[in-house]
Symmetry: C2
Subunit: 220 residues, 2 copies
DNA sequence: GAGCAGGCTATACACGTGTATAGCCCGGAG
DNA sequence: CTCCGGGCTATACACGTGTATAGCCTGCTC
């Protein structure tokens, strides 16, 4: 008690390692070495094994922690979705490390990325539902497919953009992505309000083809 | 002459290594070991160093080779862009290894990915220009930004989708992506022909904000 | 105040990596 | 036939990685 920092550090050395790992993974990628994480946490490499057993186990715990933090962070901000466009991009400006961690997870593959994707689809589903009911957004013939497509392409765009300069700090990247001067904003607004094609020929032919072979369900 | 394959292979051991490397990189990622590449090429690991000097140099040569092949492959097929939607997605169904290689390069970061992106922007520029001039596609207030956005999000979507199951073979992945039954097709057709928003409020406010602060040019 | 328990560190080990080096082996020239 | 040259291989080295093991040292208990 006379040294609360030590006490807290002792009590939470494990969490300190986890947080340092999240930070390192976001900044250096998941190839960040155990030794680098240990240094960032101010502990010895052996302690990581001692507490988590393996690097993969540490990674898994980081994954659930990031997902949990992101979820609560979204739940807290759910009351003020004044910007519907931002709502369609499932990422807030806050917590850049979390965002970059998830983006990197998407690019690294594996189950973590898939869970992150599902989570964002869930969020977008809510926003989209409200927007459609409010008459702001057109309904879709396949709402779930639209949700997945929007999330995949939106996050994928961020991933590609991030990987174009992977050395950038999470803070700098998120600031750039979220800036109203970002060059993506105008094209997307145009696309969302005006569409791209001048005629509905392609959609019509696709729909007619689809109705011609109706029971062509591919469930895998 | 009795066995041209062997003759060619003998004459081009260096090229055989390069081709094997392209294949390994596409299938296993750029972390594929020199030994694995050597085995795939049917040579010893030392020969790779002997011919290329280092793994990075081999990777660089693979990059330019892939870019070159992709370019010629596109130049050959430029005469038959009967499907304008496919034209907007800058990837053909042929040469799955090339496509996956480029997708992986986009996710790995570095200059190679950036060059691939530029190449695809160039291709899409041509298609988009023709489509706009033919009156099929709405013009954009910032054509270059739209090109970059479309390519980034389209390729990013593929990257995310590929990384959801990185073990899939390039052939299987490209077949899935290009299938008319792919769940992305309908949402994108809807978006491209009908837009997303029912009103132009968001675009209007953005444009008015932009005209209020006109000389807000961010040239980097 | 002595003893002890456990978080924590330091060291070491096994392994895979990229790369350098010495030698083999086949083809061709004198 | 001899010799030699270079594409090619086999071996080895240095390094970084994740992980296991033995010991320290602080703080708590009796």
């Amino acid at each position: 008690m006379s040294d609360p920092k030590t006490v807290e550090a002792d009590a939470g050395a494990r969490e300190r390692i986890r947080d340092a790992a999240i930070d390192c993974f976001a900044r250096e990628g998941f190839g960040a070495s155990v030794r680098a994480i240990a240094t960032a946490a101010g502990v010895s490499p052996g302690l990581i094994t001692h507490h988590f057993g393996s690097k993969d186990a540490l990674r898994a715990e980081c994954d659930v922690e990031v997902l949990g933090r992101y979820r609560t962070l979204k739940d807290d901000a759910v009351d003020a979705p004044s910007d519907y466009l931002r709502g369609l991009f499932p990422d807030p400006g806050a917590a850049p490390v979390l965002v970059v961690y998830m983006i990197r997870a998407l690019g690294a593959g594996g189950e973590a990325g898939r869970r992150f994707l599902d989570q964002m689809v869930d969020e977008l589903r809510t926003v989209m539902k409200h927007s459609v009911e409010a008459g702001i957004v057109h309904p879709s013939r396949d709402e779930e497919a639209r949700l997945r497509t929007f999330v995949t392409q939106g996050m994928g765009g961020m991933l590609v953009e991030f990987m174009s300069d992977p050395g950038a700090s999470p803070e700098a990247f998120v600031a750039r992505i979220m800036s109203p001067a970002h060059e993506t904003l105008l094209p997307l607004l145009e696309l969302y309000t005006e569409g791209l094609f001048t005629t509905s020929d392609l959609l019509d032919t696709y729909l007619s083809l689809r109705s011609t072979t109706p029971t062509q369900e591919t469930e895998d």
